[in-house]
Symmetry: C2
Subunit: 470 residues, 2 copies
């Protein structure tokens, strides 16, 4: 792509739109805007300018200017992404949406939230809970923002019962690459009114336009939540129990799988204790329901089913403290691994194939001599393989010899296996810049060419988050 270079005249115009206090041009102040949570520093790129609008109208004026002047724009939310989606590869403008912070309303009549793109998930949850309502999806990082959650179609563990964020988004205000503003959908539960631009925008990672506001469907909160931890002798046994759970009459909110050796890292990191030392692999099952009685019955039924399938025991966390301890260990596993991690993968396979897929990843790990701890969302097939530069054993980390060469090979191999097992490259993290090559391995030419055609329709000048997705 041939983009224009940012000139002092551009800076002046951008300053006129957002005010001098909402512009950054000094390199040392732009470090944070050169990367996301992806662990490899090599992918960082500096923008020429960071611009922080506070209204949709400002976003529109910025996009109009960028379009007219042929300047690349990289929209940016909470930057909690894991595949370089908000890295400004071509420099130009980083459009940080952190200033669009209004929770416009929690509409209790329509049971929907309306929030601007820069509102964090944490802020949104608080506002929703304050009105006695509930947003089921729970992606890992609560610093993620509404815009980012939508354009990456965020998932999280609770997708088993409630689905991913896509299922909850009912309307989107979008600033098109040329600056035009449009409202897709609305406070509507149903629509069959032409091609779903709404669903096309969800998961488009900022490459088709800038999401500035979202209308999100809410639910009544569950009256009670139980968390079960179920140890097994092997990961295979644990995962093979999952189809039996899913086929049963109780649909859990979440079914996660973890291995002893991964939990050991997090126990050490957090100085907390997992409820059991038994077994080498675990299912963590979260149940929600409309009463304690209902949940108790459900927990018993699912516990018995696990025991029938070879579980060593069933730990039921029915109070908040116990549950918090377990969820903390599960959710901080990423943080605990991060310092020694090269990359977290996000392959999703059919749920009946998880056991075989994970066994194949383990085999590859042994053959290649690189630690590939794998855990994730057992009931929705979304498997996070971590490529590690070191291994944690007997309480300490030891660097893996030759990890530099092994990294690429392991990455290729896990994706190859994902394809073999009928999977797809990303379940919830998106493509960004680091998974583009794999997307082309998983999709055929028909689909890749349709995606390129769609990009051309929405963003004919190619200025909106260039170099991402396709």
């Amino acid at each position: 792509m041939n983009y224009a270079t940012l000139t002092p005249a551009h800076i002046e115009k951008l300053t006129a739109i957002v005010g001098a206090g909402n512009i950054i041009t000094e390199k040392e102040k732009m470090i944070d805007y050169s990367h996301d949570e992806f662990s490899q520093a090599e992918i960082a790129h500096f923008p020429d300018i960071v611009v922080k609008p506070h209204t949709t109208e400002e976003v529109s004026r910025i996009m109009k200017l960028a379009s007219e002047q042929n300047l690349p724009v990289t929209p940016r939310g909470g930057a909690t992404g894991l595949c370089g989606g908000c890295v400004p590869i071509y420099g130009g403008i980083v459009l940080s949406l952190e200033g669009l912070k209004k929770i416009v309303e929690i509409d209790t009549e329509n049971v929907m939230a309306v929030a601007e793109a820069g509102v964090t998930l944490q802020e949104l949850y608080q506002a929703i809970e304050a009105k006695g309502l509930y947003l089921p999806p729970h992606p890992g990082d609560e610093n993620a923002t509404v815009g980012g959650l939508v354009v990456c179609n965020a998932g999280g563990a609770r997708a088993v019962k409630y689905g991913v964020i896509r299922n909850f988004v009912r309307g989107l205000e979008v600033v098109m690459p040329d600056g035009q503003v449009t409202m897709l959908g609305g406070k509507l539960i149903k629509s069959s009114s032409g091609y779903s631009l709404l669903h096309l925008m969800i998961g488009s990672e900022g490459t088709l336009g800038v999401v500035t506001k979202a209308i999100i469907n809410l639910y009544p909160p569950p009256q009670a939540i139980y968390t079960l931890v179920v140890p097994f002798n092997s990961l295979g046994e644990a995962i093979k129990t999952v189809p039996a759970i899913i086929q049963g009459t109780i649909m859990p909110m979440a079914v996660e799988f973890l291995e002893r050796e991964t939990i050991a890292v997090t126990e050490d990191f957090l100085n907390r204790t997992w409820p059991t030392k038994d077994g080498s692999a675990y299912l963590m099952i979260i149940l929600d329901g409309s009463s304690e009685d209902e949940l108790m019955q459900q927990a018993e039924a699912i516990g018995q089913l696990c025991l029938d399938k070879g579980a060593l025991d069933v730990f039921v966390a029915d109070d908040k403290t116990k549950q918090h301890n377990i969820l903390e260990i599960r959710s901080q596993t990423y943080e605990a691994m991060r310092g020694n991690m090269l990359e977290i993968l996000d392959v999703t396979v059919p749920r009946a194939s998880i056991a075989d897929f994970v066994a194949a990843v383990h085999k590859a790990s042994e053959e290649m001599g690189i630690w590939l701890p794998t855990y994730g969302h057992a009931a929705d097939g979304n498997v996070h393989t971590h490529i590690m530069r070191a291994r944690f054993d007997k309480g300490k980390w030891t660097e893996t010899p030759g990890w530099q060469e092994k990294y690429e090979k392991a990455r290729d191999r896990v994706h190859e296996l994902g394809k073999e097992f009928g999977g797809i490259v990303s379940g919830e993290h998106g493509i960004g810049m680091v998974k583009k090559e794999y997307l082309t391995h998983f999709l055929d030419q028909v689909q890749l060419s349709l995606m390129r055609g769609i990009k051309q329709v929405f963003d004919p000048k190619g200025i909106c988050n260039p170099g991402k997705v396709i």
Copy 2:
């Protein structure tokens, strides 16, 4: 559009693909293929040929030929549509998918169904139930086929809790307008892997390609279902109870609203009796749950809430016979009205606005002197206004004087009101040919132009279901 005219050479080639027994060219045998369920005979058009493939490969060869020869193709499923979506406006080929009848598998491990486009909803339900599984959405007509359900993003009453068909479709085999075959998605619960072509195809009404096979996510069946009939003194009171229900801790599977005068038509038509003569308007609430105990509690709680809001009584149908009677009356209302109906509308408004919207429709009905009975899905805002050529009163139908002139005006007025109340033209029926003009009233130029661009990318020759949607 300038399409080629079907020649004997084309007929020969099509016959070579599907065999002589799967071709119709005699006009008298093509009557059924000239229309759908839309009641106005004026919109019917005859094709030049009906072609019935039995495999995806045959569909692919037909599309390749049509594309090369510039022949218009109108794909057709169960023809249960209500907006002329499968009417071959430009003649040419009707591609009837009735021969693609394989239920490929009910995959109990992945808890998904794989079925070809021509399988009817009834056949699909039977196969799913035989394996002890459950597909929550329930659009009205079980003669609808899998392909049609997907490309119209079918809804039905149960969308309140479980969502529309879109939420369940996980993969689609699609034959592109040029004959290329591609598989979108798969047996996957989650995917954030590029633009969602899957969700673009859902609701595209056969204008972007031909869906030949679908992978559909299933659920465990509910252990028990209760149906409540709750009479109120006025429709306003009935509908205003709905937000209170939705905000509560129990999410019903369905909440329908009906009026006494509509039920009277169906009672007469079916010779059945609605459970109560009280009141002039009703909510019909369907609850599902994992046990009878749970449901009993839920029914009591929701019943009490309705009484607090002014309900005259609460009838709980807890056995199958009673429930069947109620559901039969509700689901046959369309059939009962049909003979005297000009059109059924499908406007969807925010659920908090239904009461005001319906009041405004009633007012318009009185002012115009045309009966516009309105009922539908109260908890998802999907309101079916029926434009009637006659009125049912004291057991008999009386033709409305001047209905011919009033029809268009009533149609325009209801859609205007829908727009005023923040609604959209179609909640579940789609656009087809008869709602195209209204789509352009509800959407702005940005969206219409993006939709035209998308159509151009998928179907550059414009041969796939021409004249529909956009």
